[in-house]
Symmetry: C2
Subunit: 362 residues, 2 copies
């Protein structure tokens, strides 16, 4: 059935039914290679963020393609990856609430990880976890340069944390974590340059200087001194990445196969996939996904298991029973909704891949 | 630790870490009793929608409290409930894409279910599944009276479907499914009355006439001829149900325990729970949840694992390391994000309850 989408649809619906979240491994191969090449070209190491796929299956492919290590956003993700034999892991967040459960110490005793902090309270929890694990823990300082999320907001704040790290035998300074906004790279350079001088004065070196984000592939390499980049979404891509100019439709590896289950009237249709399949993330876009077969049909509203189609601008309207493929607005959250992805290659179903690190509390 | 929220927070974070989605079983008991009483008072049977909890644990409590049967929205939910011994199940949707996989026939052969349709294509799939299962299947006709979701839009359309059902030996007419909008009950009455006459002429009786929705508790009993009501959210309640006037804060059984992991600056704080814990459903409300300890702190933005707090109107600002409890805007989708709920009773942790029917494709 090589590249016959109609036969593939029939196979998917007869084997799995709909909705069905499907990943095209040929596209994934290409996306992994593109991401690696972008990092290679910019002379920074590739440390993909696995929050997008949450699966050791894809992590191993990324490592095999040249990735230096991985980035996680949750302790549970790191646990799953460590269990799968991945050893070079940054957990890119203040792991305060997870550390207090004793689970960070348990992981650290088994597979030492690198963690991030932007405040002394988190550092204190890391020191306790490291002491419990009897293994000093490597810490990166998270720096805020435009996204308005976590991160210290000045080099001075970062230096205060660096001093705490330096003075605590259970903490080892490992470097700096940046997630510049798209226009925040010059500001990031100033921040880093000033901070680097201060670190030098303290006798510290940032072995890792990490930038992040798939949209930031358009800026990769622009931070002089960066040693690695962490991007997540690029392995699958989505409508947001198309809007950001870093992917095209053919780079989108994940499609939700969904049936038109009702045509309430001439202007309205209903898909059997809603917010419990895609989530309600719009990513700032109009509509909740792009329907390959009916680009002018807008998924304008979700209920939990239904996508409501506005067909008023649609000339070629879908019929009840049609199976359509939808590119999600935000693939990271859509993949996180299902226990497994149906995998296709060469136009045929070849595997079912567990999304192992999803559904966990911490 | 009876009713000492500080001790309970300490136990939860030290046992599970944060974020942690917690259900208070005392509140659940009360909510189940209230829903049953509302149905009893209106003289309609109670057929709770289990999409909110997706767990046989709670289904059994609802049955024990007097529920006649249950409502599901997915085939996978019905499979899990049938496996747990629940026998009276309505799947309240056009199960077209799931039926074509053969999974409906497999379920029907084991535990006969009632299904819903608003079109002939779905009916045709039901007839095939019933034939494959060698067991006629009971079908309700879904009728649209205000929500603008699925459902036939006129009594005439419903009668056309009723005729198809009547003429097919594998299909049995079981009744009518309504989900009136809040102001759509008089319209629903007209629709039903006209349809009932037509059904009588065909020699058919709607044994089940179902109304739906927790917000519709304010209207329950207003449809003359209704035999049962299906409500889901009322078992847990949430910020949307408070806004709808059918619950208060003390009726909200599910809280996400989350840590303040960063205080970027005076106006901004960060929780360790974001869209992968709550989803991005706003339910039309400002902010993404209600923080019990800091009602004036607004969760104004999510990233996947972070909730960004706007503290500009907050006099008593949370500190890094504080554990706070958040009432989700939409509890049905929040519960669907985790594999298990931590259960408390009498102010102490007593159980961990699997959310068994989540993460499934169909």
């Amino acid at each position: 059935m090589k590249n016959d989408p109609i036969k593939l649809k029939t196979k998917i619906i007869e084997t799995f039914g709909t909705p069905c979240t499907v990943v095209d491994l040929d596209v994934v191969d290409s996306n992994i290679a593109i991401a690696q090449a972008r990092c290679d070209d910019a002379r920074v190491a590739n440390r993909p963020h696995i929050k997008t796929h949450k699966s050791p299956y894809f992590t191993k492919q990324q490592i095999n393609a040249g990735a230096k290590g991985i980035t996680c956003q949750k302790l549970g993700e790191a646990q799953v990856m460590a269990d799968a034999g991945i050893s070079d892991i940054i957990i890119a967040t203040n792991l305060l609430g997870a550390a207090r459960s004793g689970k960070l110490a348990a992981l650290q005793a088994k597979t030492p990880v690198k963690v991030c902090a932007d405040n002394p309270v988190t550092l204190s929890e890391y020191a306790k976890a490291a002491a419990d694990a009897n293994t000093p823990i490597e810490v990166l300082i998270e720096c805020e340069t435009g996204q308005q999320r976590a991160g210290v907001e000045s080099p001075d704040e970062a230096l205060q944390l660096a001093k705490i790290i330096k003075d605590n035998a259970m903490l080892k300074f490992a470097g700096l974590l940046f997630y510049p906004s798209l226009d925040g790279w010059p500001r990031t350079q100033h921040f880093f340059d000033e901070l680097k001088l201060g670190l030098n004065d303290m006798g510290l070196t940032a072995d890792i200087v990490s930038t992040g984000g798939t949209p930031n592939f358009i800026n990769i390499g622009q931070l002089n001194g960066a040693t690695e980049h962490r991007a997540g979404t690029c392995i699958f891509n989505d409508r947001m990445m198309i809007a950001a100019g870093v992917a095209t439709l053919k780079d989108c590896a994940v499609h939700v196969y969904t049936s038109v289950v009702s045509r309430a009237n001439d202007q309205r249709g209903i898909l059997d996939a809603g917010s419990k399949t895609f989530t309600s993330d719009t990513g700032g876009l109009d509509g909740f996904g792009y329907i390959l077969e009916h680009p002018t049909a807008q998924i304008h509203k979700f209920s939990e298991e239904h996508g409501i189609l506005d067909l008023s601008n649609c000339t070629n309207k879908p019929a009840i029973g049609d199976v359509v493929r939808v590119v999600p607005n935000h693939v990271c959250v859509a993949v996180n909704m299902v226990d497994q992805l149906v995998a296709v290659r060469g136009g045929d179903v070849v595997d079912v891949i567990p999304v192992s690190a999803r559904g966990m509390l911490v």
